[in-house]
Symmetry: C2
Subunit: 287 residues, 2 copies
């Protein structure tokens, strides 16, 4: 028996997340006893101890850590299969399948590039429908993995390209976005060191992996909010140069001399083989 049912995987991941059988059962919408039994049975079948049941609570063993990591990937792949199949569905034979592609894009970013890409692709003969799906700051990877999206625009090194196929589309420097009337806004250029500890302008903090990094600056969750706070002189931010397109009069963009360059990629799951995707990628790389 080297089989592992999706249900068992869901159960184990719930327990590993919560480290508490009762809460995990509630999250799964079942009672606690069947959950305990399912995990015991899973451990027996695998021949491996996954959880250490202490007097008060539960902790993962080494094997449990592995199963959590690998199982998350497997579960993502499974839900991706369902989503992509449903999306391709309703169609008949291969030829008539309703061609549609979901493109994940960081909300509010890539305006210029995205417009060019969509226009150029729409002009292609036999172009499919492209649905643009706005994503959170670092959510594109997850969206590709679990099938909410088929292809994504990503910003290396902020997004990780690991596990995906990708083509580089453009490279740009970064700028500091400051309140226009702040003294530093008059500078021709700045270094990272110079903006690291400006007392009256702490750097804005974005959530990464659903948690904010520590620091003095305000916690931001969308670009409009950030634009307001900068205009009010309360914070500053580091952005790729193309951010200039959405700046207000109250903003100033000063090039950063030593910030890492940002490269924009179009990325997709490595196993994708669709004709429609290939067409979009070809168009993008010819921009």
């Amino acid at each position: 028996m080297d089989t592992l049912e999706t249900r068992e995987l869901r159960y184990f991941i719930a327990v590993a997340d919560e480290l508490h059988f009762g809460r995990a059962a509630e999250r799964l919408g079942i009672a606690q006893p069947p959950l305990s039994r399912a995990i015991q049975q899973l451990e027996r079948r695998l021949g491996v101890t996954l959880l250490e049941r202490n007097r008060r609570g539960v902790s993962l063993t080494g094997a449990g850590e592995i199963l959590l990591q690998e199982g998350r990937a497997a579960l993502d792949a499974t839900t991706a299969a369902v989503r992509r199949t449903r999306r391709a569905g309703g169609a008949g034979s291969p030829g008539e399948s309703r061609d549609r592609l979901v493109l994940a894009v960081k909300a509010g970013a890539f305006h210029e590039l995205l417009n060019k890409l969509l226009d150029a692709y729409a002009a292609e003969p036999g172009a499919a429908e492209i649905e643009v799906l706005p994503s959170g700051m670092c959510e594109q990877e997850a969206m590709l993995r679990d099938g909410r999206a088929d292809v994504a625009l990503m910003h290396a090194p902020f997004n990780s390209l690991a596990g995906f196929d990708s083509v580089e589309l453009m490279t740009e420097g970064q700028v500091a976005i400051l309140p226009a009337r702040h003294p530093l806004a008059a500078r021709k250029s700045l270094s990272l060191a110079e903006i690291a500890d400006v007392p009256d302008l702490p750097l804005a903090r974005w959530p990464s992996h659903d948690t904010y990094p520590p620091g003095p600056g305000p916690e931001i969750h969308d670009q409009t909010q950030l634009a307001h706070l900068i205009a009010l002189g309360r914070t500053m931010a580091v952005y790729p140069e193309s951010a200039r397109t959405w700046l207000w009069d109250e903003h100033a963009a000063v090039p950063l001399s030593d910030a890492p360059v940002v490269t924009t990629h179009i990325a997709w799951p490595a196993h994708s083989r669709s004709r429609v995707l290939a067409g979009l990628v070809r168009t993008a790389s010819q921009l």
Copy 2:
């Protein structure tokens, strides 16, 4: 209901492979009627037609093609989770887990590099046990995907690095390996065009994706066999330069001026985060 059980996936893939319910059922070790019902039910739950039942036999719809492709990836990820968990198993808490890593290597290749790597890594403090797993010509990718291996040595562009993280270890040119007494063996250098159609020395053919490419040369399945056939003057082959280490007196290696260079990488699944793997990769990249 957006859930898809592993069992259903196995069933669908069997049918999609065989395009025949009876044979698929036999392969799965169940009777045909439950299989028919399972697929119908899967189609109902997904709300998608996966198979076109013609008068005589079965064919895939567009959605079915997608599910076959995505489902294969999901099933691989699931069996990988089981294999890696079992391998990590028997261990107690995270600290004491028996550290062991399976390294997939094309059988008979990488001798020199592999020796250096294993020696260097074994000398590291806290080195884990490395199990070397010989693989077929292009099998390393599959082994990483389905969890038979944790890390692999690969030859780009022969192996595809798509979907994996990797570090480049070395680059080398390619040579033609000829019988020592053949006229071409005296040459200082050759071009691909010159060796493409030598009448008495057809190029040996390796199976790729379990099927041999068409051509006049003999079908090869291991390196010893190839060495014999070359020594006998019956064929020739193109190999990376490092192949010189295993040549016989009856062999000659002539550099190819215009063959693509071969780069050797160490590669692993993008989601791997283990300390042991990181150590091996660090050692490899410092060679």
